[in-house]
Amino acid sequence: MSDNRNIAEYKSKEKKTNWKLLYLIVFLFLVLQIIFYYFITKHFQ
């Protein structure tokens, strides 16, 4: 019984999504874009 519970807990942890990492990716992607657009502005204007 305790083996089954451990397996279930392990599986639920394994499937857990790392939301903080995803939020960080979205945030950093925005920052990188802004930097990229800034350099494009400077280059073409």
Binding site: L22, F27, L30, Q33, Y37, I40, H43
Partner: protein, 542 residues
Amino acid sequence: MSYQDWIVLIITLGGIIIYGVYKSKTTKNLDGYFLSNRDMPWYLVVLSIMGTQASAITFISAPGQAYTDGMRFVQYYFGLPLAMIVICIVFVPVFNKLKVYTAYEFLETRFDLKARTLTSFLFQISRGLSTGISIYAPSLILSSLLGWNIYYTNIIMGGMLIIYTVTGGAKAVAHTQKLQLVIVFVGMAIAGYLVVHLMPSGVGFLDALHLGGKNGKMNIITSGRTANGFDWKDKYNIWSGVIGGFFLALSYFGTDQSQVGRYLTAKNNKQSKLGLLMNGIVKVPMQFLILMLGVLVFSFYQYNKAPIHFNETQTERAKETSYKNQLVHLETEYASLAPDDNADKSELKNKYSAVLSQALPSEDVNDTNYIFLRFVIDYLPKGLVGLLIAIIFLAAWGSIAAALNSLASCTVVDIHKKYFKKDLSESEDYRISKFYTFCWGIFCILVAEFASNLGNSLIETVNILGSLFYGVILGIFLIAFWFKYIKANALFVSAIISEIFIIIIYNANVISFLWLNVIGAILVIVIGYLLQPFVKTEKKIA
């Protein structure tokens, strides 16, 4: 339009309607009709979110916006990814946990019925009017360019999608949006490729961007600073985009039922959040590319004669007045200029617009929204014109269908079942839902039929309308989540006072509309705090 264009147009639109009706099989209850049984995977959620936000106005107006004002409009979307993160953390878990049909159901739990009703009412007014504009705006442009009757165009634009929206509800909306978006993106990519292909030999994509840059169109990042300090009336700069755009996106995606309804269709929290985050990643580059299309069209017209006024039907009407000779004289002068003599061209365009205004005093003479479609009709091959026109319809349908579904869900759940008939069977729920979807479709078409001059760029008009209401609605939700001190009665009075203030500030024209979202939200919270000691408290927080 050639017969090839008509064939492509009819097949594309007819195909979407048939596909939507085919996908109409849904459970015949509220869950099935409004939330597609909450079974959508994240990729359908993100396509639905994008299809709802990107209306025809996005694809007609944005390239024209870049042609006249440069690419700085993209900054308006910088706050969106940040808003997606906040919504994932705060809004999604609450909505999913309570298993709500509408975003405003939650407010009754937190405050009382009148708070819920007021907020739902504010949403229905703003979304109903916006949807009417979303029908009217592309119809006006198409009818003008192609010589179609505006009233019939409104009916086709708003009426035909009622067929699959009424029968199929949220499921039909989501699946047709998926197909619509694919067709739209393919069509815009083809247009982008062709505009570069049509440049003189030796002029490539980067050359075109350099040319646009020399003329100030590659102004993607702007600071809003002038010699006199920060310009609060400057519409698009990085600060109004990140801050004002953040509040606008937070309100639109967090509290507007037309978007909340999209991610409530997801299987679970995870699929909702993934859909929202993916939207946060894709949206800004997508808008960047659409705007860049406008810059490429500008560069194209440095090698080819641009019309002095892109709305030819309007100039023909003006030439039937006593101003004909003045207009012809200006056109002759304009035709003698080199295509890249932008300074003189701009001066003559302004004079021409002034004469047009005198000749047609009741009409809006701004031609920003006609630039891209004029280019498509004049220069793209047969068949592709039909595809691009179809894309205008599809983009409009995607957003209007979602709006109708959301308006009907609010009317049924927030109003009808609360005030008129509380206990309905599943089949009665289903029948009344279809009825209200149909009614809202007719209402929005009527708004379109009675709409007249809308001012400048249509994409601005829709966002101005949103900014008049979104700030207050967002403030209500922020109080609900984070300001437990403020109770129902104080919130109700505060919301009404704040909305009045916002309308006054807008009419005073002292600040750019994007900031109204911030001001509205803050006003509701501050006034709520000030009123709370003096207002009778009724209900405890749930």
